[in-house]
Symmetry: C2
Subunit: 349 residues, 2 copies
DNA sequence: TTGAAAGCGTTACCAA
DNA sequence: TTGGTAACGCTTTCAA
């Protein structure tokens, strides 16, 4: 029915072994022979059987990418950056790798399930993106799974979450605490004192670190007026909207809002507009990430840029072993502060 | 090294065949035996070897999802909807399917490459989402690939693009033309006459159909002032921004802008704001899709809602054969008009 | 540089 | 209901 390696071999008058070698390009093959094989492949319209190949070689050309929310552009960027970096060895011909994007929805169970599924597929690498859940049992479970994966030859990369000790997973982390601090320091330097903070979901590393940075900045400036202006919620627009409404209820006189994430920032902006407030004249909004649509969707948005795509790309390279893993298996991408537009000082009063 | 089916069989005192049956749940197995097997699986921490299983069964539990731009929330929604629908037969235990999201970037070559890669993986199904490229040679090439895939047992679904004759691919199409017409009719009914149109990339089915609907509406109303106010560009923010600037240059007095897509609409809004125009007081903006962030990011945005998630979910069901394919293999999701907020009539003048 | 052949871990058919 | 056992299609020593 379907064309197999043997068929190609027969037509090219060589052994199956030779065809395999040509296709994988990992062994010397005479030019003339290679020609003949390639011609046969073409004429027969032969497509390698991935599963068979994976079984024999005990590794597949699949790379798993776990994301918390695939509908969030943040993870779209991560996924596409990884995807563009995962060409494996084999160059032009057989270096094709396939990214399997797994949407965990931030759910611990699904995270584990997907890890098992990827283990089952004998994935070449697994990249876990975004903040991790801070539950001891779950962290241990994930670490265990990752250990098992590495043992089976799967390269593991953590991108945007803390390193996991006792694991040979490479970690690429963002400086969430530092970024959070700088963001709030910036607002403080503009004269803001009553700053609302829309935090991410509880028990998430990114949430905690960014918030800690915010609090450090406030403490450093001796500002206490904003201490109670913190509301937690999921990393989505609706939550940003709801949280901002709540903050305005708590303190209608606040002059700035920090959103723990850009998607959340858009929801915050919507809530402010609905309340009849102008951005940035009445209230300044600061988002954390640097999504393409945030740049001009909200003019004068103050952002702390995290070079996401680059970081994700590096994660991909590290996953594939094309770049030496950093000492200790940990690397940090420093947040870069970028202030745009005319984000204003608090309105006089 | 790694645990195999045989190990489990040995420990459970049964044959490998029986273990396989328990794991797949497709053959009757005595309750007591099943217990024993499951216990052994658990104790040994056994994980099925996907490639081996796929080789033997000549089908994998991978489902490919081709998207034009994974960083666009539109496709994120599609992908996650498909992902939540692809549980295969095998219920609780082994029904786990993995979605392989492939980012074509709208590039014909990559589309074909990914199709080959999925064929290589012996994917259980392939879902092609978003508008198709209107190049005869390319369409033929894709049709050929899809034919080959179906022959090999892969279910093929087209979601948001026209059906492919001579193919047993199920097509789920959006009524782009009708939606485009209604959108512009709505603006016309409000009194707008000079309406700019930011179209998608040329040679794309969605671009053409939506634009045709727009022109139908104009022609139907006998309006000719807007005939030259059409600019093409990619489906992204930057293009929406640039196109709007260009449109304003062509006709500074336009009172409405239709964007062929929500992402584009956001760029258009940004350009209008930069030009000092207010939305919707000075210029009304109408976006085509119904992305979560468009709803309140742009108050009073007029949108034609396409029930994306539902459509994608149905595509998943159809792909998996859980729902009868519609007669002729084609189904149409009708655009639904939703007018929100206070999208205004043109300013007096 | 090339060929022969032994796996790789499951599935599924045929018996029992 | 269960066991035995050929495939499945490729990779990879080992020899030549």
């Amino acid at each position: 029915m379907t064309v197999t390696l043997a068929d190609v071999a027969a037509r090219a008058q060589v052994s199956p072994a030779t065809v395999s070698r040509v296709l994988n390009g990992n062994y010397p093959v005479a030019a003339a022979t290679r020609e003949r094989v390639l011609k046969a492949v073409d004429e027969l319209d032969y497509v390698l059987n991935g599963p068979a190949s994976a079984l024999a070689a005990s590794t597949s050309d699949l790379v798993g990418v776990l994301v918390n929310d695939i509908a969030d552009p943040f993870f779209g960027i991560m996924a596409s950056a990884v995807q563009s970096e995962i060409v494996g060895p084999g160059g032009r011909a057989g270096g094709e790798r396939l990214a399997v994007v797994c949407n965990t929805g931030g759910d611990p169970e699904r995270e584990l399930t997907y890890l098992t599924l990827l283990q089952r597929q004998r994935a070449a690498a697994v990249v876990l993106t975004g903040g991790a859940i801070e539950d001891e049992a779950h962290v241990a479970a994930v670490a265990g799974k990752l250990r098992r994966l590495s043992e089976a030859g799967t390269r593991v990369v953590l991108c945007g979450r803390p390193p996991l000790p006792d694991t040979d997973a490479v970690a690429l982390t963002f400086d969430n605490r530092g970024g959070g601090r700088e963001l709030t320091e910036h607002l403080l330097s503009l004269g803001h004192r009553r700053i609302g903070y829309v935090a991410g979901p509880e028990e998430r590393t990114t949430t905690r670190h960014r918030l800690e940075g915010h609090r450090e900045a406030l403490a450093g400036a001796g500002v206490t007026e904003s201490d109670d202006l913190v509301v937690h919620g999921p990393y989505d627009r609706a939550a940003g909207h709801a949280a901002t409404v709540e903050l305005l209820g708590k303190d209608p006189s606040l002059t700035a809002v920090v959103a723990a994430n850009d998607t959340v920032a858009l929801g915050a902006c919507a809530a402010l507009r609905e309340a009849g407030l102008r951005i940035p004249e009445d209230v300044s909004v600061a988002g954390f990430d640097d999504l393409p649509f945030s740049v001009d969707a909200v003019p004068a948005l103050t952002t702390v840029r995290l070079p996401l795509a680059e970081a994700a790309a590096r994660a991909g390279r590290i996953a594939m072993g094309r770049e030496a893993a950093p000492p200790g298996g940990v690397d940090v991408v420093r947040g870069e502060l970028a202030v745009r537009g005319s984000t204003g000082a608090p309105r006089g009063k």
